[in-house]
């Protein structure tokens, strides 16, 4: 277990995972549930245990839609989506590079594509 990794995830998410009472409402409300290997409540629990590398290796970190349903409905304000995002960030940072080259952007631009999606894509998708 990598203690620094856990601290990094806790710090960058700003989430206190100890507030979780394991009710599973986050996973009960998650629209991507069936796509995910690890579900929102498992993210919270595994981060608490420090089992972060397993999460980083899983495709689940890219399946979260960041719809924030779990954040909205968590009875204890744990904000699981922020944990998922922090693990995703940890994975991306550890790989040490972006997944897109800025030169590729002009050809991808189209009017319907939100700019934010491009920025996110830098980190999310491996071509």
């Amino acid at each position: 277990m990598d203690k620094n990794l856990k601290e990094q995830v806790l710090r960058s998410s700003g989430v206190n995972v100890l507030k979780c009472m394991r009710c599973g409402k986050c996973s009960g409300t998650c629209p991507s549930y069936d796509e995910m290997e690890y579900h929102p409540h498992q993210f919270v629990y595994m981060v608490e245990r420090g089992d972060i590398e397993t999460l980083m290796k899983s495709k689940s970190i890219y399946k979260c839609l960041t719809c924030f349903a779990c954040v909205d409905r968590c009875p204890r304000n744990v904000e699981p989506a922020k944990v998922v995002e922090a693990v995703r960030l940890a994975a991306v940072r550890q790989q040490g590079n972006n997944h897109m080259n800025p030169n590729q952007i002009p050809e991808m631009l189209d009017d319907d594509l939100p700019q934010q999606a491009i920025v996110t894509a830098f980190r999310k998708y491996i071509k």
Partner: protein, 663 residues
Amino acid sequence: MKRIGVFVCHCGTNIAATVDVKAVAEALGHEPGVVISQDYQYMCSESGQNLVKNAIKEHKLTGVVVCSCSPRMHENTFRKAAASAGLNPYLVEIANIREQCSWIHKDIASATEKAIILGKAAVAKVHLNSPLTAGESPVVKRALVIGGGIAGIQTALDIAEAGFDVDIVEKNPTIGGKMAQIDKTFPTLDCAACILTPKMVEASQNERITIHSFSEVADVKGFVGNFTVKIKKKARFVDETKCTGCGLCTEKCPMKKVPNEFNMGLDNRTAIYIPFAQAVPKVATIDPNYCMMLQKGKCGICSSVCSVGAIDYKQEDKIIEQQYGAIVVATGFNPINLDKYDEFAYNQCPDVVTSLELERLMNAAGPNGGTLLRPSDKTHPHKIVFVQCVGSRCDDSKGKPYCSKICCMYTAKHAMLIREKYPDTEVYVFYIDVRTPGKNFDEFYRRAVEQYNVHYIKGMVGKVTPRSDGKIDVQASDLLANEQLHIDADMVVLAAAIEPDKTARPLATMLTTQMDTNDFFTEAHPKLRPVESATAGIFLSGACQGPKDIPETVAQASAAAAKAIGLLVKNSITCNPCVAHSDELMCNGCSSCEKVCPYGAITYVDKEFRMPDRTTAIRRVASVNPAVCQGCGACTVACPSGAMDLNGFSNSQIMSEVDAICK
């Protein structure tokens, strides 16, 4: 010069582990006036007290300082010990070196230093202590119970049984409270009305009990043993003394579309109504918001059909005033409002109901005569989902932080009753934890699982979506199977958190009692004084103090009654001699003290004074009623001329304590 004895307690290791008690005793022994300074393992024990008593006699002590726990704990113990040794009890001072020193410090050196300073301050104060004599005030032999639910009824019955008059003030038209709305009780499944209504009748027939229904407490003045309470009897537009409860008016009333609050708004009642068949008192009440006579001046049918002429459209709110020796608060609880929880679709779908609504749906006197039907289309539900912890155990911004305690049990009860009566119905319960501490409680829950095949699934429901085909999609996670479920339910039942009644907070202000952040009344001690409030003469009964089931409520109600009886049997009670008094020569008559006094203990009188030139002048000066004064000290702070002073906590005593600390 005073002869002072200092006694330092180890409190086992509570104090001695972090404070060097021998060093404290040694250091305080050198203080001026201290003739003996000792330490002992348990000063509050019999032998510890004897140590104090013997020292008083042997060394002819005129002041005692005990360095021990909080004065709230043992001040009385040591005052009594001193009194039995012939020393005025108010010459004893406590230096709190436990709660305010040893328990909050880790470092022995600094804790010891602080303990010595606290001891020095107490020694400095005791130098200025003067003997005080406590007065007595009479006790009014009548109790007031606020709230007429099962808690209030039980308390009133017990107090009446002991031979004292009791008044119950109930804000609704009938007593009975929440228990009257409940269908069956756990874990015995006996009918709530069958065990409650005999008690309601008993209360109404007991000649020592007066029920003020449809009434509210408007004002409380006075103090333990002698409260003066104003009770507002709200206009019910029916003469209680004439109405026989025949119910003819309720049959004939043309205004039939008023939401029936007794059935949780699931059906309608008339504008003139009797809440339910066993209501006590069984008297009709007119709802002025819906009555056409009161709204538009047209109708008057109830008045014309009433054979005893009980209808009085001109009735007005009436204030009555009564003296009481003790007050018991039994204001109860309500389920929380579910507007905030959109994900459960409570406001969108009539087939999503609260557990209390389900009680009415299943009750024989309920809207469907006891047949469980969906509120939307009156069909039998075949798949019912229960959701636990709705609004309980939440972060403060999302709901109530506490466990509502009763929901696990009543949900198991509902699930079991439905499976018993309608075996073709599938029942799912989504839980976070099943909490069943209590006699025969876990066995009850296991019966729901093992005997009645209720599906208990660990995981909170995430989303409830009413579908166009009348079914309700319940989306949840099964945490143990690690899968997400979609259940097409016919009904969803939400176990809503419970909260104290909204009337509790303004009442607490009137009674000058304390509440916690959730508006539950705070008990005087969480373990040892669970039914008393911190305000003398005010007792707590039932769910107003915290979530409780019926057996616990009844137990606490009887305990509160016992405490109230303990007060009422006394002819008089010893007053606190630490009250304020004014130096009339210094008082300039400004009224500052009168304005800040929360108890109304200060009045101003015109008094004759002899002036230096031998003339007589009449001056306006403050006068304190020592029986009403609670010794809070607000007046001594407000007084600009320094005329107001508090016995036992005089300005000079407090300044000398401060001096000793700063030395």
